[in-house]
Subunit: 229 residues, 2 copies
Amino acid sequence: MRPQACADCPVRDHAVCSALDERELAELAAIGQHRDFRRGETIFAADDDSIACATLISGAAKLSKIDSDGVERIVALIHPAGFLGQLFSATTRHEVTALTDSRLCIFPRAGFERLMSDHPALTRSILERTLAELDASRALTDLIGRRDAKARVAGLLLSFARAAAPSPCGTAQQFELPLTREEMASLLGTTIETVSRRLTELEREGVIERHGARGLAIVSPAALQQAAA
Amino acid sequence: MRPQACADCPVRDHAVCSALDERELAELAAIGQHRDFRRGETIFAADDDSIACATLISGAAKLSKIDSDGVERIVALIHPAGFLGQLFSATTRHEVTALTDSRLCIFPRAGFERLMSDHPALTRSILERTLAELDASRALTDLIGRRDAKARVAGLLLSFARAAAPSPCGTAQQFELPLTREEMASLLGTTIETVSRRLTELEREGVIERHGARGLAIVSPAALQQAAA
DNA sequence: CGGCGCGTTGACTGTAGTCAAATAAAGTGG
DNA sequence: CCACTTTATTTGACTACAGTCAACGCGCCG
């Protein structure tokens, strides 16, 4: 990867590298390289040596743990411009998996951390990104702490709609669900069947429309918002 | 507050200030001051101007949102050495409330952020703290995503036991619950009654013992761990 | 002493979980 | 390109757990 590539990068205004000046960006670009992952591929495995970190350029990823019974528990979703990998820690804490075909800009961790100490702007940028992840994580805590499953499902759909929107503050009216029913259930702390039933219910009420298993259109944003309350 | 006070600070080895050298610490101490809050007191109100941030020296705090129906939804707990306040943002996003009598070391945000730009070590230290909060938040996501209420309650007790332990890695065998039933329910996405019933059940099974409404002893750590699985 | 906040318990209802089967979608090999 | 297998999703019937409403107990403070 050359700095040239950064000029065309779809996340160059939002990712951690956006705060760097040209010279710093060149240094970072020198140690980074693009890599593609197919849907379902493991990006980092849990409890491995933490040797790399990355910016997600396109696609989507999930962070998960496998608990003692072998059940996957998803704890976060990562969207483009998000940062992946465990800094300042010998091993990774979560499984990181591509939810859709994805492109990453990967950096060796040692080199990345060295650049952080050399360039405070990079540290600061990572901090801002981490604070954003923390906000997202707390929003998720809020979401899955809702008592009825319908509110959790509705809230998840809204968060997908926001993530799928072209502009950072809008919401897409129509999009593809990035998660399987099983993944949604894992994220929401419920079961496949309940997710399916609540989706059916929302469709019967005229709040959403489904096009195939993954396609989704929001017919009444207000009603969906209401259902998520 | 003077640097002298820092020497006796119970969290001086763990809080964000621990990474600073003497001169930096003196600068930070110059803009910080201690303040005590009583149980239940609001530390920062949601949606206020974000004018201050703080290190929690002793006690405990909760971060919460009040949703449209007026129901409180707790999204995080903060323990001593934790950092409070919203950096890089005009307004606070959450209500911050003292759970027990607490002592804070408060800094005006503008001064604090200026010190961060002057001293990369402080930025780096805040980053490490934020990464720790992010881990904690994801652990909470994992906890409240469990399907049965008993596992959620048991897991919460374990996390209290860890927080109450004198050493960072141990677990206290006996401690006071820092949350009311209502707060536990809010955190776990369930109801007061369910929390109460599951506690009664755990006691009946001989896993825990209750001493009054708040006192708790873990009789069988293994069984509790098992129940939380 | 009486009220108030907090916690526990009981009875009942309803929603979500479980087990099982049918259907739809996606992938495979001819 | 189609038949076939495999996987994902929906639906149904039943059960169990959690939510709701209500009463009661306890400790605290005025």
